[in-house]
Symmetry: C2
Subunit: 141 residues, 2 copies
DNA sequence: CTAAGCCTTACAGCAACAGGAAGGTCAAGA
DNA sequence: TCTTGACCTTCCTGTTGCTGTAAGGCTTAG
């Protein structure tokens, strides 16, 4: 099948499939006489695998490792487990950091008068704890 | 003061300061006779403001808007409030999505035997589904 | 014969910088 | 005076994971 059919079956854009090939994440498929890429069932499986892995948040290098494991009948499940555990930790860290940011933003939102005046606690906070009378950005030319 | 001093005081790398200037986030500073950038106190305040805003997760365009408000004594705090509220919502959405990913990853980790055998529920899951929304919990093995 | 709808490659661009090359400037020390 | 090292400058490339667009070739239907 041609690339657009592979794209439809795998759920990945044709562009992305070509891109994965260009970075050697996928091995080059067969080509028809006219130069068109020609995909087979196994290729579709790899593409689906990659789409899923990307949806789970794995980056390209992690996908490369996972795909290698997928293709390797001699793999040990503990290797896969390790990769996914690491990713889980990574995502947890990210969530924690974002949570802190969210709380800070919520504080800002709560502190702002939200009215027609220029005075704004958010601006003051972002500007840093300047001394009174020295709130810059409003002073000087 | 020169750029390295401005960098030290603002907490931003000199590279970043030049970058902000190059994208017109900062207006070009004065130059000394030798061509060196020369910063003043107000510039440092803008830099600090931008560093803070970036730390709060605002992207460059949002920083641009915030900085405009910062510089504008005729601003209404409600405008600032709106920007920050939007950002808060954005971050909340992101956290929710990441949370879903995390839960799915945790399910994968829990489902894997984590041993020396090749059989691996994670691999099966990543390979198995071709339709979205069918990520976990299907029988199939 | 032409138009559409595929396919190909190759280059540009997104965010938000970081790294490095190549070269100019400045202050201090031998 | 010369040299060294620490600054500074601009310009170019690379990062991640694609997406958009251009310019052109192939295929099929009318």
């Amino acid at each position: 099948m041609n690339i657009s059919e592979a794209a439809k079956l795998s759920g990945l854009p044709a562009k992305t499939i070509r891109y994965y090939e260009s970075i050697d994440l996928l091995s080059p498929p067969q080509r028809s006489a006219n130069g068109y890429r020609h995909y087979q069932k196994a290729d579709i499986n790899y593409l689906c695998f990659l789409r899923q892995a990307r949806q789970f948040g794995f980056n390209i290098e992690q996908c490369r490792l996972l795909l290698d494991l997928f293709k390797n009948p001699q793999r040990r499940s503990t290797e896969v487990h390790q990769l996914v555990s690491d990713k889980l930790e990574e995502v947890d860290t990210h969530i924690r950091e974002l949570g802190e940011t969210r709380d800070l933003l919520a504080q800002l939102v709560g502190a702002c008068a939200n009215d027609e005046k220029a005075e704004c606690a958010i601006i003051d906070t972002l500007a840093g704890q300047q001394e009174q009378g020295q709130i810059l950005g409003e002073s000087k030319q």
